[in-house]
């Protein structure tokens, strides 16, 4: 299973895009930075983006290669195939501090936000 990473975006090869995923129209943006507006986007090659109702993203590369571009990170070349897109996750140790039922250090996993 081949995996690629561009910044906080992980692209992992999968056997196939789930059948119930719906095609995303418009620009092929895998993720966009909230504060800088920088985006991880496909700029070369033929590809389609799909989204599940849960929000999970998938990419299908139809051409021989597709180029993933970002303003700050180097390009990533993705060969033809199907991929699952994920944001890097981290742990929020401070969540629920004000809730007396939660123990200190309990925390919660959160997904990347930039």
């Amino acid at each position: 299973m081949n995996a690629y990473r561009q910044g906080d975006v992980s692209i992992m090869a999968v056997e196939r895009v789930p059948k119930n995923a719906r095609k995303v129209k418009g620009e092929l943006v895998l993720a966009r930075g909230e504060v800088t507006g920088h985006a991880h986007r496909i700029v070369e090659g033929q590809a389609f983006l799909y989204r599940l109702a849960t929000g999970m993203l998938y990419l299908r590369v139809l051409s021989e290669f597709a180029k993933l571009y970002h303003e700050e990170h180097e390009d990533v070349i993705l060969p033809q195939g199907e991929y699952e897109i994920r944001r890097q996750r981290e742990f929020d140790p401070f969540v629920g501090r004000s809730d007396p039922r939660r123990r200190a250090g309990e925390g919660q996993v959160r997904y990347g936000m930039d």
């Binding site: 299973m1 081949n2 995996a3 690629y4 990473r5 561009q6 910044g7 906080d8 992980s10 992992m12 418009g26 620009e27 930075g33 909230e34 504060v35 800088t36 507006g37 700029v43 070369e44 180029k67 571009y69 303003e71 700050e72 990170h73 180097e74 390009d75 990533v76 070349i77 994920r86 890097q88 996750r89 981290e90 742990f91 929020d92 140790p93 401070f94 501090r97 200190a104 250090g105 309990e106 925390g107 996993v109 959160r110 990347g112 936000m113 930039d114």
Partner: protein, 367 residues
Amino acid sequence: MGWTKRGVVRINKLTAKQEGQIIVFAEKWNRIARSTEPWDQEAVAAGIRRFYKAMGCRQLQRGRIHFTEGPIAAYNYATFKWEGSWERHPNFSKLDPSEWAIRCLLARTFEPAILKHVEDFMHRNIARSLSIRRVAQNGKNMPEGHSRGYFFGQADANWLAIVDYFATVHGNEHCQKLEGLIQAVQSCGFVGLMPEKIIFSNRPEVAKFDDQGRLHCEDGPAFICRQGWRWFYLAGVPIFEKYIKTPADDLKLAEILAEPNAEIRTAVLRKFGFQRLLATTHHRIISEAAGNALIEFKLKIGEHHNEYLRTLRLTWQDKTGAKETLLPVPRLARQFGEDCPENVNDCEQVRRWTLGWPKEALAVAET
């Protein structure tokens, strides 16, 4: 020239003269993006009239053109009633040419490699000013049934430079339609276009950038508009004023780890220095791999005493140089969830967990 599958001829090579013009346009638009000179109201209005004409929109009378000193006032004023607007102004949507739409049109004439070459140069060499997205965070909410106008400004310099280049040097007809907009943007701060009115705002009083053209100031606001609004930036990342005003020795690591936005965390760490924070905090390095480290901190947070927090210290190199950040990670196996790494004390295994990579995943490229 090369033949595509559809039999269309696309330009796949630039002449030396065309190549030389890229830097000329980049320099021109870099000056526009950084400019703090007062606006030229006549040039702005004339430019927008040209743009409306090129897009087949009805010209607005002089009384419908408004000028404001700052972007916040322009943004708050730039609303229009949605109902009936599109019927009365069917071509209005043509006034919103995005970078992506222009790229698609240019791809009919130029090979992707040529577009990428010009885009990369412009994006790397033109400063990024305050974007309307950032202004919107300080703006008022719209009344019900209203819509916001289209905004263009100095922050659009890098893609308008591409349009200007292809319009002037290559005579591309799609880009030439935007010449009026180009004229307007190079003469003011922001342009807001609505069906029944147009609003312009003046350029900023202060705009400070780092050597990579990102808004940046370590001891004050990086952007001050003429109405007095101030925005704080570190290396192109908008941050809270407290991170600028707090003396370096007073900043607590817990405050940085509580910041949910990874880019803000990275920018603040860069200002205060990771080593300085390490020196002032009880910590131990649990494991290290490939320049990254898994570190456990012993911190006093609020009423909780001696709490242990784990973070991954990640270091990497991107187009702008060396970077590092701290990524809070779970400490206990139950906190990782069902795909918990075999060894929660192994830096690389924990890093792969943050990316959602299973054990068998082979990392082909990481940038």
